[in-house]
């Protein structure tokens, strides 16, 4: 295990910072990323319905396989089209 000394003022946490959150989802595009495990689609369909009912824009994406991280192209597409992303459903 590598130990590094913090070069900063130590005012922030050492874990990677999360991206800044929008105040609300109003007017934003929400990406739903299906990791393609069995039955996850039923769950995501419902999430999509609820979000759409609440007036949000929803885009659906699916990984080719849940066993690997999403391909770079898919990640890039999500990051250019979506303001936030929800990934489901791991079990």
């Amino acid at each position: 295990m590598t130990t590094l000394l913090d070069p900063t003022s130590e005012r922030a946490a050492t874990t990677r910072e999360r991206a800044a959150r929008p105040a609300t989802l109003d007017g934003l595009t929400i990406g739903l990323l299906d990791i393609t495990k069995a039955r996850g689609d039923v769950f995501l369909d419902r999430i999509a319905d609820v979000l759409t009912t609440r007036g949000h824009t929803v885009l659906r994406f699916a990984k080719p396989t849940f066993t690997k991280p999403a391909p770079v192209d898919l990640r890039h597409e999500i990051s250019t089209k979506c303001d936030v992303v929800i990934e489901a459903l791991a079990d």
């Binding site: 590094l4 070069p7 005012r11 990677r16």
Partner: protein, 480 residues
Amino acid sequence: MPPLDLPDGLVAIVKRDCPTCVLVGPVLAELRDRATDTVTIVSQDDPTFPEPTGGALDDRDLATSFALDLDTVPTLLRIEHGRETARIIGWSRDQWESFTGVSPLGSQLPPYRPGCGSLTQDPAIAQRHATQLGERALQARRLELGNDEDDAEAMFERGWSDGLPLVPPTPERVVRMLTGTTRDPQDIVAIVPPDLVECTVEKVAINAVMAGCRPEYLPVVLAALEAACTDEFNMHGLLATTWFSGPVIVVNGPITRAIGMNSGINALGPGNRANATIGRALQLVIRNVGGGRPGDVDRATLGQPGKYTCCFAEHEDAYWEPMHVERGYRADQNTVTLFAGEGVRGVVDQLSRTPESLTRSFAACLRTSAHPKLPLAFDAMLIITPDHLRVYEGAGWSKARFREELGALLQLDGNELVRGAAGIEEGIPESLADVTLPKFRDGGFLIAHAGGGAGLFSGIMGGWASGKMGSEVVTREIRS
């Protein structure tokens, strides 16, 4: 492991790998039987040694030996009320008899044998111990990387990088970096903008490791940071400006040769580790400790590549006195001079054979710095090269004479500078039409000498808003 808790009485420190210790093994057993004091034996290399005493306390980690600052084994100590009150080293029958109060002692041994070196004197072991002690003294927060984290990527992810790869700041590397200075790691070097954070020598060392510095560069980085964080230099303003400038470090004095800085061919370019990493270390401290990041506080419209790093040594073995001497330091002092510089651009003059002609070339080019119609607003540095300096040397012009003649050529007629003049809306207010104004304020024009021996070119580095409006040039002595 902490050092052993040694009981009052006599304590002997020995190692098997020492013939004198082997020799005194039976004497120690004899002391155990006959001395009124408690006798404690400590072994540096093998707790089963000495056999006659049935072994010893284990000091294979040498914590006790280092705590006692031993240089020889055997060493015999007297401990009273938990403190050492006397010690003798090696084997001398007379000394041992009077020290222990047991006589006769070791009568079968020769009367005298010198001891051997304590294991703590082994250079590799001493070095490792110093590193461990140094690492324990470090105060910075430690970050254990995850097993799946790549160390290079982890540093980018945490926002520590200027965009280029960094050297991972491990405790071992930081301790080694700190050997470059005599200053205490917890000394405050400066209050670093924009977040106004107290920055310790240790934090500078961490960023210097990441920048790729060698330990001997650290004093230069420390001095540069001190200079950058003065009110006069105004690093906060320099960071926040939309203008191109960043801190440019000119290093003077014998240290430039000692640490192998480049003042010659490609002095402002790549290829020299000291030049490249000292300037980068300063920028990394401002980024990481001060919190000054491009896009946040750093609002530069375009920026410039010199903001990764810009540091060079002046070529001092020349006709004109070096920059630090001109600024009031002795030639044998080591200094950094900080200038809020933009990118460098070239001045070509391959035909001037007289100082009068060459000075006119410089004046014509310097006048255009930032804008040909703006006087007094921006500072500049001329980096004159050996081929051009020879012209002045040949004619016997001192640096002061050059300054004077150049200054006269850079007195600008207000009529040429006012808004609308020459069909250019940029310019000074109409009311100044009848005034003559100098291009540069007093103290706003620097001259450095550097560069390779061939090339009838010099360099101009524009500055930033001058003086109290922006940044003053600041020189600081480099301390060890």
